[in-house]
C-alpha cells in the first residue's frame, strides 16, 4: 500500500519523531513512576506539649521515631500553631493537654487535639491515619503496661482509639509491600501510549490539512478507510514499540513484577490503541489547525486519565463519573493492566473489560472513517 509506505518514510525521515518515540517512554517512566506516590513521608508536626510529663515525652519520641513524622516546631499556644499551619511550615499540629499523664493514670479521660492542614485532603487523611496508628500503639502499650483497661485516649475529631480486643493483622495481597511504584507503573504505561498515540496521530493528519497536502490526496480516488488505515497502522506500531520499551524500563529500573501473560497484555494494549487512534483521527477531522486539535485532545486526555482510576479508585467516584467511564478507554486499560501485571489475571478475568474496549475501538474507528470528509 503506497500511502502506508509514504507514512513510514515520513516518520523515519523526521528526526524529531524518532527522538520522541525513544525519549518519551524513557522520560515518562523514569520520572512519573517514582514521582507519583501516595506515600507520605516527613510530615512536619508542630507540637504543643502542655504536660511535659514522661508520658507525653514518650508519645513524642514515638512520633519522631517513626519515619513519617518530624517535630519541626514547638509553638507555645494554639494561635501560633495555627499560624504555622497557615504558612505551610507545619502539616499538622498536635496539642497535648496539661492533664495528659493524669488522664493516663485514670483520673480523667485524656484527650489529644490534632489540627491538620487539609488543603490536600488525601495527604491530610493519610497523615491522620499515621498519627492515629502511632497513638493507638502507644495507647495499647500503656494499657498492657499498666494492666488498666480504663485509660483509652481519644483524640479530638472522630477518632475513638478503641482498645484492641481483637488483634487485626493484615497482609496486603498482590502488592505485599504496598509499593506505590507497582501500583503506578501499569497506569503510567497507559498514559504513555495514550499520549503518544493520540497526539502523534492527530497532529499528523491536521498538519497535512494545514500544509495543504491532504487536498491533493482528497482529489484522488483513494478510499476513506485506506487513508485512515494508513494513518493508524504506523502509529499503532509505534505505540506497541513504546509500550514494550516502557515495560523494559519498568523491569530494569523498578524491578516490577509481571504476573500475567505478556501476550494478553499486548493484545489488550492493541485493542486500546485502535480505540485511541480512532479517537485521535476523529478529533483531527474536526480540527482545522494543530492548535485546535491540541486543545481538544489535551482536554480529553486530561479527563480520560484523571477519571480512569489511576490515582483514585473509580469505585469511589460518583455514579455519573462511573457511567462516564463506560466510554473511557483509558479506564478499561488501566484496570486490565493492573489486573494482568500485578494479579496475573487471565483472559476470563478481564473478558468484560476487553469486550467493552473492543466495542469502543470499533466505534471510534468507524466514527473517524464516517467523519472524515473528502470534500469540504
Amino acid at each position: 500500500m503506497f500511502l502506508l509506505r509514504k507514512e513510514f518514510r515520513q516518520i523515519v525521515r523526521n528526526p524529531f519523531m524518532i527522538r520522541a518515540i525513544i525519549a518519551v517512554p524513557i522520560i515518562q517512566m523514569l520520572i512519573l513512576v517514582p514521582a507519583v506516590t501516595f506515600e507520605i513521608k516527613r510530615i512536619d508536626l508542630a507540637v504543643i506539649d502542655n504536660d511535659h510529663s514522661p508520658s507525653s515525652r514518650e508519645l513524642l519520641a514515638r512520633l519522631s521515631g517513626s519515619s513519617f513524622f518530624r517535630i519541626t516546631a514547638t509553638p507555645v499556644n494554639i494561635e501560633e500553631a495555627e499560624a504555622l499551619l497557615f504558612s505551610g511550615d507545619a502539616d499538622m499540629a498536635l496539642i497535648i493537654p496539661g492533664d495528659f499523664s493524669e488522664g493516663l493514670a485514670g483520673i480523667t479521660r485524656p484527650r489529644l487535639q490534632v489540627l491538620a492542614d487539609a488543603v490536600n485532603a488525601t495527604s491530610a487523611q493519610l497523615s491522620w491515619n499515621y498519627l492515629t496508628s502511632v497513638v493507638r500503639d502507644f495507647n495499647r502499650d500503656i494499657v498492657i503496661g499498666e494492666g488498666a483497661a480504663t485509660a483509652g485516649i481519644s483524640a479530638a475529631g472522630s477518632l475513638q482509639a478503641s482498645l484492641p480486643g481483637i488483634a487485626v493483622s493484615s497482609r496486603f495481597w498482590y502488592n505485599p509491600t504496598l509499593n506505590y511504584k507497582y501500583y503506578m507503573l501499569p497506569g503510567v504505561l497507559v498514559i504513555l501510549i495514550t499520549a503518544i498515540g493520540l497526539m502523534m496521530t492527530g497532529l499528523n493528519l491536521v498538519r497535512e490539512k494545514e500544509v495543504g497536502t491532504i487536498e491533493q490526496i482528497n482529489v484522488t480516488p483513494v478510499r476513506k478507510w485506506e487513508l485512515i488505515a494508513s494513518k493508524v497502522i504506523p502509529f499503532f506500531i509505534i505505540g506497541l514499540l513504546d509500550l514494550a520499551l516502557g515495560l523494559c524500563i519498568g523491569w530494569l529500573a523498578f524491578n516490577i513484577p509481571f504476573e500475567g501473560s505478556l501476550l494478553l497484555f499486548f493484545a489488550c494494549a492493541s485493542i486500546f490503541l485502535v480505540a485511541v487512534l480512532g479517537l485521535a483521527l476523529f478529533f483531527s477531522t474536526m480540527a482545522s489547525t494543530q492548535q485546535q486539535f491540541l486543545f481538544v485532545a489535551f482536554f480529553f486526555v486530561m479527563i480520560f486519565i484523571l477519571m480512569s482510576g489511576i490515582f483514585t479508585p473509580t469505585e469511589s467516584m460518583p455514579v455519573w463519573a462511573q457511567q462516564f467511564n463506560w466510554v473511557n478507554p483509558v479506564a478499561y486499560l488501566m484496570r486490565i493492566n493492573r489486573m494482568v501485571m500485578l494479579k496475573g489475571a487471565g483472559f476470563h478475568d478481564i473478558a468484560r473489560d476487553v469486550g467493552m474496549l473492543t466495542v469502543l475501538a470499533v466505534a471510534f474507528i468507524t466514527l473517524a472513517i464516517r467523519a472524515y470528509r473528502k470534500r469540504a
Partner: protein, 247 residues
C-alpha cells in the same frame, strides 16, 4: 470542429456560503483536448468552481458532469481527473521519485508501470538528476512543474490547474505553458485558472468571471474582436471590474 466531445458540462451551477454567492448560475461546456481558461480577479469564484468540478466541494444547486460522470459520483470523477491546487501540495519530506510513486500508486498503477513512466517523465523534463532529492530542497519553479507532471502522471482525461503559475518567475511560467501545450497535445483537456491576463491569450477559450458570474466566454481572438480591445487585459478591465471597487 466536427465531432466535438464535451468532457465537462455545467448548467446553472450555484455555490452559496451562507448569504455569500460564490458561484452564481455558471453554465458552460468544455471540449475534449482544449485548453480552457478561467479568468477572474481574486475572489471572483474561480477556485470555488474548480473545487466543485474536482469533487472537493458540493454545489448548492445545478447540474454538472465531468468526464461523462454525474456530479453525484465524485469518487468516479476523481479517477478520471488530475488536480493541482494553488497551494503547493507534493510532500516536502519525500523525494521526487517517492512522490511520483505515491500518486501513481494511489491511482492504481503498478510499481513496474510507475518506474517505467517515471523514468520517461524525468528524462523528458530533464529532471533525472533530481529524482532522489527531497521536494523541499527544490526551488519553487521546479516544484510547480513537478506538481503538474504528477497531476497528469496517471493520464487523466482532464487536468485542473488552479493558478498553477502564481508566484513563479516569467521564464518558468513560459516553460510551464509549454508543458500545458504538450499535455493538451496528448489529448488531455486542460482546465486552468489564472489571474495573469497574458496567459489568457494562450488558451483556446477563456471564461471571464466576476463576482461569481460568467461575464464572457469565447476564444481570446473572438473576445478581443467583440469588445474591440487590443488585449485580454484591456478587455478584462473593461468588463470584469467589480462594481464596488476598482479591479
Amino acid at each position: 470542429m466536427t465531432e466535438i466531445k464535451k468532457v465537462i458540462e455545467v448548467e446553472g451551477l450555484v455555490k452559496r456560503f451562507g448569504s455569500f454567492v460564490a458561484n452564481d448560475h455558471l453554465t458552460f461546456d468544455v471540449y475534449k483536448g482544449e485548453i480552457f481558461g478561467f479568468l477572474g480577479a481574486n475572489g471572483a469564484g474561480k477556485t470555488t468552481a474548480i473545487r466543485i468540478l474536482c469533487g472537493l466541494s458540493h454545489p448548492t444547486s445545478g447540474k454538472m458532469t465531468v468526464a461523462g460522470i454525474d456530479a453525484g459520483r465524485p469518487e468516479e470523477i476523481k479517477k478520471r481527473i488530475g488536480y493541482m491546487s494553488q497551494r503547493f501540495s507534493l510532500y516536502d519530506d519525500l523525494t521526487v521519485n517517492e512522490n511520483i510513486e505515491l500518486y501513481g500508486g494511489i491511482y492504481g498503477m503498478t510499481m513496474k508501470e510507475i518506474r517505467q513512466r517515471r523514468e520517461e517523465l524525468l528524462t523528458r523534463l530533464s529532471f533525472s538528476q533530481y529524482g532522489e532529492m527531497l521536494i523541499g530542497s527544490l526551488p519553487l519553479g521546479l516544484k510547480q512543474k513537478l506538481a503538474f507532471a504528477v497531476a497528469v502522471f496517471h493520464d487523466p482525461e482532464i487536468v485542473f490547474l488552479d493558478e498553477p503559475t502564481s508566484g513563479v518567475d516569467p521564464i518558468t511560467r513560459r516553460q510551464f505553458w509549454e508543458m500545458i501545450y504538450e499535455t493538451a497535445s496528448r489529448g488531455i483537456t486542460v482546465f486552468v485558472t489564472t489571474h495573469y491576463m497574458d496567459e489568457a491569450e494562450y488558451c483556446d477559450r477563456v471564461t471571464i468571471m466576476s463576482e461569481g458570474r460568467i461575464v464572457a466566454l469565447d476564444s481570446p481572438a473572438a473576445l478581443r474582436g467583440r469588445y474591440n480591445t487590443a488585449t485580454i487585459e484591456e478587455l478584462f478591465v473593461k468588463i470584469a471590474r467589480p462594481k464596488t471597487e476598482t479591479a
